[in-house]
C-alpha cells in the first residue's frame, strides 16, 4: 500500500465555508431569488400517460386578469431530429425539446404541455386550468418487459434499436442494446459445481431532493438572457438552454444559486427554458417553481428494471462464470443508465468468463435522470443477492467468499479495461474485522446481511482561479455548485498546497461568465476534479510566488524553495519569508498574483463499498426494521472526513429507502398515485439507527492527494445487503424492490 503521507489541512475537519449562511437562513437558494417586476410562471401538465395532442387553446388563459403570457411548444424553435453535442454528451434534440414542452404527443402523466406567466403564482395556477387541451388518449406502456414485446404500443414511431453503431430496421421501444463479454461463459459455467440464477425487479424511485426545481429568467433589451436557478451544473444549463432555444451561449449567463439537493436529478433542464420563453414573451423576469407533485411527475426518476443474474462457482468458492441480463426503463425518451449498470455489476469480483447484455427501453413514465451511481444499484441488487446465495450454498462466510474472488489491481473488468489500484479487498477486510460483523446475531426474526458495490467515478473538466490577497488569504473562484460541502473540500486542497489554513481560503461558486468551463457536480467528481483544478491553480500561484520571492531576494527562481507555508532561499542568501508576508509585498514585486488551473483528468479511480446491516422482520405485518448499519468505503483520501462520512451515511439511507418503501405507484391508466412526500415514503430519522461510516483509504494514483469520488457508491450495496439480511432473518429471498410490508407478507405466504 502507498505510504500514508502527512498533511496539514487534508484530513482535518474545519467548519464549512458556507456554513454560517446555511444555518442562519441567509443562504440564497433558487426559489429565494427576488427581483423587481417579477412575474410567476406555472406549467400545465398532461393528465394522461400516453396521448396525442389534438389541439391546445390558450385563449381563455390569456384573457384571465393578471396573465401576462402563455407558452406552448409552438414557441420553441423547430427541433430537428438530430443529435446535438452538448459539451460532453450527445442527445437527440427533438427528444430534449419535446420533454420541455410536448409538441405532438404526451408520453407520461406530468409531461409539460403549456406554461403561464402571471402577476402571482396563484393566478398562474388558476390560468393553467383555463388552457383547453384536446387529447386523443393512447394505451400506455408502463413496464419494461411489456414495452419490449413485439406488439407493444410504440412511444416513438421513429425510434429503432441501436447496438454498437448498428441500427435495426423496424421501430421499437428498445432504444439500444449493449453487450460486454469476457472469456468463455459457457465453459465457465461448465466448470462450476454450483450455479445460481434468479430474476429481479426494481421499482421506479426518485432522488427525493427536498428543494423543488426552480428558475428565474430575464431577457435584457440587448438580448442578454440571465437565468438564476438551482442546478448541478451552470454550464450544462447554458448548453441545454442554448440548444433548445437555438440561442448563442455568449448571450446566456447562468447564475447558480445555492442548491437544495440533486443526487443527479438537477442536471437535466425542465423549467429553465420555459422560464426563458416566458421572459421573452412578457419582457419581464419570470420565476417558475415546481411544486412537489411536479417534481415527482415531471422530472426524471431513476428507472424501474428487470434484471436476471446467473453465477457459477466451484466447491472451493471460486466464481467461474457470470451472466447478466439488464433491461432498464428509460422513461419517455431513451437514456436509461443501463451502461453504468453493466459496467458495475460484477466489478467487485475477478471473474474470467462473463457476458452482460443491457437494454435501454422507453415506457410511458417521466424520462429518467441520473440518480446517485445511476444503474449500479439496480444491477447490484441482483448480483449481490446471487453472490450471497452462492456463498450460503457453499457454506462459506459471505465476506470470505468476497475475499476469495475480490477484484484487485490488474484484474480485468467485465467491460474490458483493467483495474488500476483499487480498494475492493480492503473494504471487505475492514468490514469482516468490524465489531458489527463479529457481534452476536441469533435472535429470532433478526438477520444480518452484507453486500459490496462499485462505482467507477468520473473526471471531466473543471476550472479554478485563485486570486491572492495582500493579507495572505486567497479567493478561490470555482464553477462547481456546492451540494454537500465541496467549497471546503476544494478549498482545503488549495490550502494544503500553499501551506495556509483552510480558513484562509474564500471559495466562491460563480456564474458561467466568471469562471472557466466546469462540468456538473455529479459522478462523484467535484472533490476529485475541481479539487484537482484547485490543486493546479494553487501550484500556479506557488510558482508565481516563488518568482516574486526570487525577485525580492534578487536570486534565481531555482534557488527559492517553498515548504510549510514558507519561502526560503536555498543557495547563498539566508532569506526566508512566509506566504502571508510575501502576499503583502506583491505590489512592489510586480502586481497581483492570479493562479489558474484547468483539468480534464482520466484517472478518477473507482470506489468500492461493503455494507453490513442487521434487520428485524415483523412476521405478522411484514415490516422490516433497520437495527444496525455499518458502511465501509474506500475514499482514496478523505479530504474532509466529516463530509465523506456524510456522503456515506446519506447514500446508505437513500439505499435503505429504496430497499424498503420507495417506489412510484401507478394505476392502470399510468397515473402516479403517490406523488407526495406523504405517500412516496422516504425514511425519516425515526426509521433509522446511527449509520456507522468507516473510511478506508487506498489512495487513487490518478489524483495528487489520492482522492476518489465518494458520493455515489454508498447507494449501491444497501438493497442487496438488506435483502440478504431479510433472508437471514426469515429464510426467504426477496427479489423485488421495494421490499415493502405487503411484498414480505406475500412472500411469507401470509396473504
Amino acid at each position: 500500500m502507498t505510504e500514508k503521507k502527512e498533511y496539514k489541512v487534508i484530513g482535518t475537519r474545519p467548519i464549512r465555508h458556507d456554513g454560517v449562511d446555511k444555518v442562519t437562513g441567509r443562504a440564497l437558494y433558487g426559489a429565494d431569488f427576488q427581483m423587481t417586476g417579477l412575474l410567476h410562471g406555472r406549467v400545465l401538465r398532461s393528465p394522461h400517460a400516453h396521448a396525442r395532442i389534438v389541439s391546445i387553446d390558450t385563449s381563455r388563459a390569456e384573457a384571465y386578469p393578471g396573465v401576462k403570457g402563455v407558452a406552448t411548444a409552438q414557441d420553441l424553435p423547430d427541433a430537428e431530429d438530430r443529435i446535438a453535442d452538448l459539451g460532453e454528451g450527445a442527445v437527440n434534440l427533438k427528444y430534449l425539446c419535446d420533454n420541455i414542452l410536448a409538441s405532438d404527443k404526451v408520453l407520461y402523466q406530468g409531461h409539460a404541455v403549456a406554461a403561464v406567466a402571471a402577476t402571482s403564482p396563484h393566478i398562474a395556477e388558476e390560468a393553467c386550468t383555463l388552457i383547453d387541451v384536446e387529447y386523443e388518449v393512447l394505451p400506455p406502456v408502463l413496464e419494461v418487459r411489456q414495452a419490449m414485446e413485439a406488439d407493444a404500443p410504440l412511444l416513438h414511431e421513429t425510434l429503432k434499436t441501436t447496438s454498437m453503431g448498428e441500427t435495426a430496421d423496424e421501430p421499437s421501444n428498445v432504444a439500444s442494446h449493449i453487450q460486454h463479454q469476457l472469456g468463455d461463459p459457457e465453459k465457465g459455467f461448465a466448470e462450476a459445481d454450483i450455479v445460481v440464477e434468479r430474476d429481479f425487479v426494481t421499482g421506479t424511485v426518485h432522488q427525493g431532493y427536498i428543494e423543488p426545481h426552480n428558475a428565474t429568467a430575464h431577457f435584457n433589451q440587448d438580448g442578454q438572457l440571465t437565468i438564476w436557478c438551482s442546478t448541478q451544473g451552470a454550464f450544462t444549463v447554458r448548453e441545454q438552454v442554448a440548444e433548445i432555444l437555438q440561442y448563442p451561449i455568449s448571450k446566456i449567463k447562468v447564475v447558480p444559486m445555492e442548491i437544495g439537493g440533486g443526487f443527479g436529478g438537477k442536471i437535466s433542464v425542465y423549467i429553465k427554458p420555459v422560464a426563458a420563453l416566458l421572459a421573452k414573451k412578457t419582457g419581464k423576469p419570470v420565476k417558475v417553481l415546481m411544486n412537489r407533485a411536479d417534481v415527482f411527475e415531471g422530472t426524471g426518476p431513476t428507472p424501474a428494471s428487470y434484471v436476471r443474474v446467473k453465477m457459477g462457482a466451484t466447491k472451493e468458492g471460486k466464481i467461474t462464470a457470470a451472466e447478466a441480463y439488464l433491461a432498464f426503463e428509460g422513461g419517455a425518451y431513451p437514456g436509461a443508465p443501463v451502461g453504468p449498470g453493466a459496467m458495475c455489476i460484477f466489478a467487485p469480483y475477478n471473474i474470467e468468463n462473463v457476458v452482460i447484455d443491457g437494454y435501454d427501453v422507453v415506457v410511458n413514465k417521466p424520462k429518467t435522470a441520473p440518480y446517485r451511481a445511476p444503474g449500479a444499484p439496480n444491477a447490484a441488487f441482483g448480483s449481490e443477492t446471487v453472490v450471497d446465495e452462492l456463498a450460503e450454498k457453499l457454506g462459506i462466510d459471505p465476506l470470505e467468499f468476497r475475499l476469495l474472488n475480490g477484484a484487485k489491481e490488474g484484474d480485468r473488468r467485465a467491460d474490458g479495461p483493467v483495474h488500476p489500484r483499487i480498494g475492493c479487498i480492503e473494504t471487505v477486510e475492514t468490514a469482516k474485522a468490524h465489531p458489527h460483523y463479529t457481534a452476536p446475531n441469533g435472535q429470532k426474526h433478526h438477520g444480518r446481511g452484507v453486500a459490496s458495490g462499485y462505482w467507477f467515478n468520473i473526471g471531466l473538466e473543471s476550472s479554478v482561479t485563485i486570486n491572492v490577497n495582500s493579507d495572505g488569504t486567497i479567493n478561490l473562484i470555482e464553477g462547481s455548485t456546492d451540494i454537500g460541502g465541496t467549497r471546503s473540500s476544494i478549498a482545503m486542497q488549495a490550502a494544503e498546497v500553499l501551506g495556509i489554513p483552510a480558513e484562509s481560503v474564500n471559495p466562491s461558486v460563480v456564474d458561467t461568465n466568471s469562471v472557466g468551463y466546469t462540468a456538473v457536480t455529479g459522478g462523484s467528481r467535484t472533490t476529485y476534479a475541481t479539487g484537482y483544478a484547485a490543486y493546479e491553480a494553487a501550484q500556479d500561484v506557488k510558482r508565481k510566488m516563488i518568482a516574486r520571492a526570487a525577485k525580492l531576494w534578487e536570486v534565481d527562481e531555482a534557488n527559492v524553495q517553498f515548504a510549510d507555508g514558507e519561502f526560503s532561499c536555498i543557495n547563498g542568501k539566508e532569506e526566508q519569508i512566509s506566504f502571508r508576508d510575501l502576499c503583502g509585498r506583491l505590489g512592489q514585486t510586480g502586481g497581483p498574483v492570479v493562479g489558474s488551473g484547468t483539468v480534464n483528468p482520466g484517472g478518477a479511480g473507482g470506489a468500492y463499498a461493503t455494507h453490513i446491516v442487521d434487520v428485524a422482520v415483523d412476521e405478522e405485518t411484514g415490516k422490516v426494521e433497520i437495527l444496525r448499519y455499518t458502511a465501509v468505503q474506500d475514499a482514496g483520501r478523505a479530504i474532509h472526513p466529516s463530509y465523506v462520512e456524510g456522503q456515506i451515511q446519506g447514500g446508505a439511507v437513500q439505499g435503505i429507502g429504496w430497499a424498503l418503501n420507495e417506489e412510484y405507484i401507478y394505476n392502470d391508466e399510468g397515473t402516479m398515485t403517490n406523488a407526495s412526500f406523504l405517500d412516496y415514503r422516504m425514511p425519516t430519522c425515526l426509521d433509522l439507527p446511527m449509520i456507522d461510516a468507516v473510511i478506508v483509504e487506498v489512495p487513487n494514483p490518478g489524483h495528487p492527494y489520492g482522492v476518489r469520488g465518494v458520493g455515489e457508491v454508498p447507494i449501491v450495496p444497501p438493497m442487496a445487503a438488506i435483502a440478504n439480511a431479510i433472508y437471514d432473518a426469515i429464510g426467504i429471498r426477496m427479489t423485488e424492490l421495494p421490499m415493502s410490508p405487503d411484498r414480505l407478507l406475500k412472500a411469507m405466504g401470509k396473504i
Binding site: H122, E125, E126, E620, T621, G622, K623, L660, N661, I665, T673, N674, L678, D679, R681, P683, T684, L686, D687, S740, P741, D742, L745, K750, I751
Partner: protein, 290 residues
C-alpha cells in the same frame, strides 16, 4: 390555490350564522392541517374559511374523574397529551394524538378537526368510538348530540347539516379496571397515513381475568371508520385468552371492506385487521394489568 374569504369568528353564534349564511362552500378552520391542504390541492371547493380558534366553546379542555372529558373541537393535539390526567384516563386517544402527522402538525391539528375531515383512515376516530364519545353539534336550531360512530357518513362527508359545526366531544369517565389502546400499521415509523388502524377499549373484572366489556373500532378498511360491534360484544363475559382475542380479531376481519390503493392492498389490509385487533386488545389489557 383558489381564492376565498377569511373571517375570524369570535363567538359560537357568529360562526354558526356565517356557516348558515354561506352554505356548503363555507368551512370551519381550526388547525387547518387538512383543510388548507385539501383546498390547495383542489380536493375541497371553499369560498369562506371561518376561523373558530377564538371561540371559547371549541377551546374547552375539561377533565373530571367523575364526569369525564369535554374536548373542544379546536383543541390541538399537543395540549391534550400535555395533561397527565387525560393521558391516564384515555391512553387510546393519546396514542392517536401522538402519531397524527409530526410534532409540527400536532401543534395545530386537533381531534375535532381529524373527525370533521372524515377520512376513513383518521387515527383519532377509532379511539373516540371505543371510548363511547358523543359529538356536541351547534347549528341554527341550537345544539344536538350524536354518537361519534354515526358522525362520518362517507369519505370526507359527515352528518353535519348545513349551518352546523362540531363544538366539542364528550367522553365518559373511564370505568375502573378499564383501559384503551390504539395502533395503526404504517410502513414507516411516523408521518404516514394508516394502512389499517385499530382501537380497543376493554373493561376487566376485579380479578383482571374476565372481560366485562370491550369495544373495537377500525380505520382505513371501509368508507368510514367502523365500530366492530360483533367483535366487541362477543368478548363480553369471556376470559382473557388468545382464543377470545382471536375470535374478536376474526369478527373484526369479517366486517372489513378494504380497497387497494397506494397505501396498501385489500388483502394486506384484511390480514392486518386481524393482527392489529389482537395487538390493540392485548395492549389495552396489558395497560389494565400494569
Amino acid at each position: 390555490m383558489q381564492d376565498f374569504s377569511y373571517v375570524a369568528a369570535q363567538t359560537l353564534s357568529e360562526a354558526v350564522a356565517l356557516l348558515d349564511e354561506n352554505g356548503e362552500k363555507a368551512r370551519i378552520l381550526a388547525g387547518g392541517t387538512d383543510l388548507i391542504v385539501n383546498v390547495r390541492e383542489g380536493r375541497r371547493d371553499v369560498d369562506l374559511m371561518i376561523d373558530v380558534k377564538s371561540v371559547p366553546e371549541v377551546n374547552v379542555l375539561d377533565y373530571d374523574a367523575n364526569t369525564g372529558l369535554t374536548l373542544g373541537a379546536a383543541v390541538e393535539c399537543y395540549k391534550i397529551y400535555a395533561v397527565d390526567a387525560i393521558c391516564d384516563a384515555y391512553p387510546g386517544l393519546i396514542d392517536a394524538t401522538k402519531i397524527i402527522g409530526g410534532t409540527a402538525i400536532q401543534g395545530r391539528a386537533g381531534v375535532g378537526g381529524n373527525l370533521c375531515n372524515a377520512s376513513p383512515a383518521a387515527d383519532c376516530i377509532p379511539p373516540l368510538i371505543v371510548l363511547n364519545t358523543t359529538c356536541v353539534i351547534a347549528g341554527p336550531n341550537g345544539e344536538r348530540e350524536l354518537p361519534v360512530e354515526q358522525f362520518c357518513t362517507a369519505p370526507g362527508q359527515t352528518a353535519l347539516e348545513n349551518g352546523e359545526m362540531l363544538v366539542s366531544l364528550k367522553i365518559p369517565a373511564p370505568a375502573s379496571n378499564s383501559s384503551s389502546f390504539y395502533l395503526r400499521f404504517i410502513p414507516r415509523n411516523e408521518m404516514d397515513i394508516a394502512v389499517v388502524g385499530a382501537g380497543a377499549s376493554v373493561t376487566l373484572d376485579d380479578a383482571k381475568e374476565t372481560i366485562v366489556s370491550a369495544r373495537i373500532a377500525l380505520a382505513a378498511v371501509a368508507p368510514t371508520p367502523l365500530f366492530a360491534e360483533e367483535a366487541s360484544t362477543l368478548l363480553a363475559g369471556r376470559e382473557v385468552s388468545d382464543a377470545a382475542i382471536d375470535d374478536a380479531a376474526q369478527a373484526a376481519q369479517a366486517i372489513a371492506r378494504p380497497i387497494s390503493d397506494m397505501r396498501g392492498t385489500a388483502e394486506q389490509r384484511t390480514h392486518l385487521v386481524g393482527v392489529l385487533t389482537r395487538r390493540a386488545l392485548n395492549g389495552a389489557i396489558q395497560r389494565i394489568r400494569d
